[in-house]
């Protein structure tokens, strides 16, 4: 399993390719319209990306909430719940295409910055507000006379939609190009800000804004995929804490809501005290 985390970049690339397998879409300037689009992918990946073969869970959730048929989406919530309890934020660390893009941007040489804790801590709670307000409340309750709402997060915030869907489609589709207005340029500004911040801060969108990460983080403590520390093997050298790109107090908060399971702590531990485990909680082993 350690090897999987050592080659995490390749796993992320493969996950991105599998999520966006319809590469012909970029040339055609259209999107995939097959039946697989009813299935939600685990990561943040705009379904208007020409290559996308599945539905973005955040977009899908808003699609159901903004319609006038259902006030709640059991299908998408159940899918997110299942992924959350199985993997937690391992999705962020291994499977999310937009997370991978931010990591690649962070590899661009330049001055890397750490956000002061006084600013960082309250900002990390912002993603829960984005989830509650822009993904759940506003699309559900702000509706027109026909009972139809607007996907507020996709419309006003999501830079993944602009990068993966907006730019490729606008470049290849003349009719879309002719209809560009304020919204497009607003979202371009947000995308450019995300890119600029990603170069100097590690995964800023995942830390502060991503509603999908916020949802999965609720399950990090109970998910089947988790990190474990053998306290007898830990020599308190602090290498895990300094290796953690999410700046978590390790090894004390090993399965913190902020942990994206990148496995860097595991690889940094000289004693091999941190391990990855997938499975139900071991009752009997603890009783021994």
């Amino acid at each position: 399993m350690k090897r999987l985390f050592r080659h995490r970049g390749w796993v992320q690339a493969l996950a991105t390719l599998l999520t966006n397998a319809n590469l012909r879409g970029f040339a055609r300037g259209g999107i995939y319209t097959g039946a697989a689009k009813r299935i939600c992918v685990p990561g943040l990946n705009c379904y208007s990306c020409p290559a996308a073969t599945g539905a973005c869970p955040i977009g899908a959730l808003q699609a159901v909430l903004t319609g006038n048929q259902h006030n709640f989406s059991f299908y998408v919530t159940g899918t997110l719940l299942l992924i959350g309890v199985l993997l937690g934020r391992l999705v962020c660390g291994l499977l999310c295409p937009f997370g991978w893009i931010q990591e690649l941007l962070h590899k661009i040489p330049g001055r890397k910055r750490k956000v002061p804790k006084a600013v960082d801590r309250p900002l990390r709670k912002l993603k829960y507000g984005v989830l509650l307000l822009f993904v759940l409340a506003l699309p559900t309750f702000v509706v027109d006379g026909f009972g139809l709402g607007v996907p507020w997060f996709c419309k006003w915030i999501c830079p993944a939609g602009t990068l993966e869907g907006g730019i490729p489609l606008v470049l290849t589709n003349a009719s879309l190009r002719a209809n560009l207005g304020f919204m497009f340029w607003w979202k371009m500004c947000l995308l450019l800000l995300t890119i600029a911040f990603s170069i100097c801060i590690y995964r800023p969108f995942c830390r502060y804004i991503c509603p999908l990460g916020a949802f999965y983080s609720l399950f990090n403590r109970i998910s089947l995929a988790r990190l474990e520390c053998n306290e007898g093997g830990c020599v308190s050298c602090g290498r895990c804490a300094s290796a953690c790109p999410m700046e978590i107090s390790l090894p004390a908060k090993l399965n913190s809501a902020e942990c994206i399971r990148c496995g860097k702590c595991m690889n940094a531990c000289p004693e091999g005290a941190i391990t990855f485990r997938f499975g139900l909680a071991r009752v009997r082993e603890e009783l021994r």
Binding site: I31, V64, Y75, V85, A281
Partner: protein, 51 residues
């Protein structure tokens, strides 16, 4: 310690059961079709072309 691990195991099992139940209920209500109908058209809000 025993209580903690037992609780986590039960929470995992309950969450998996709830998730499977929710997915089945959502499929029965036709929500997957709603998702498909939305996802097969270019989302103008997502790409920033809608006004």
């Amino acid at each position: 310690m025993r209580k903690h691990w037992c609780a986590r195991r039960w929470m995992q099992l309950a969450a998996i059961a709830a998730a499977v139940g929710c997915i089945a209920l959502g499929l029965a209500r036709g929500e997957a079709a709603v998702v498909l109908r939305k996802a097969v058209f270019v989302c103008l809000e997502c790409i920033g072309v809608a006004g």
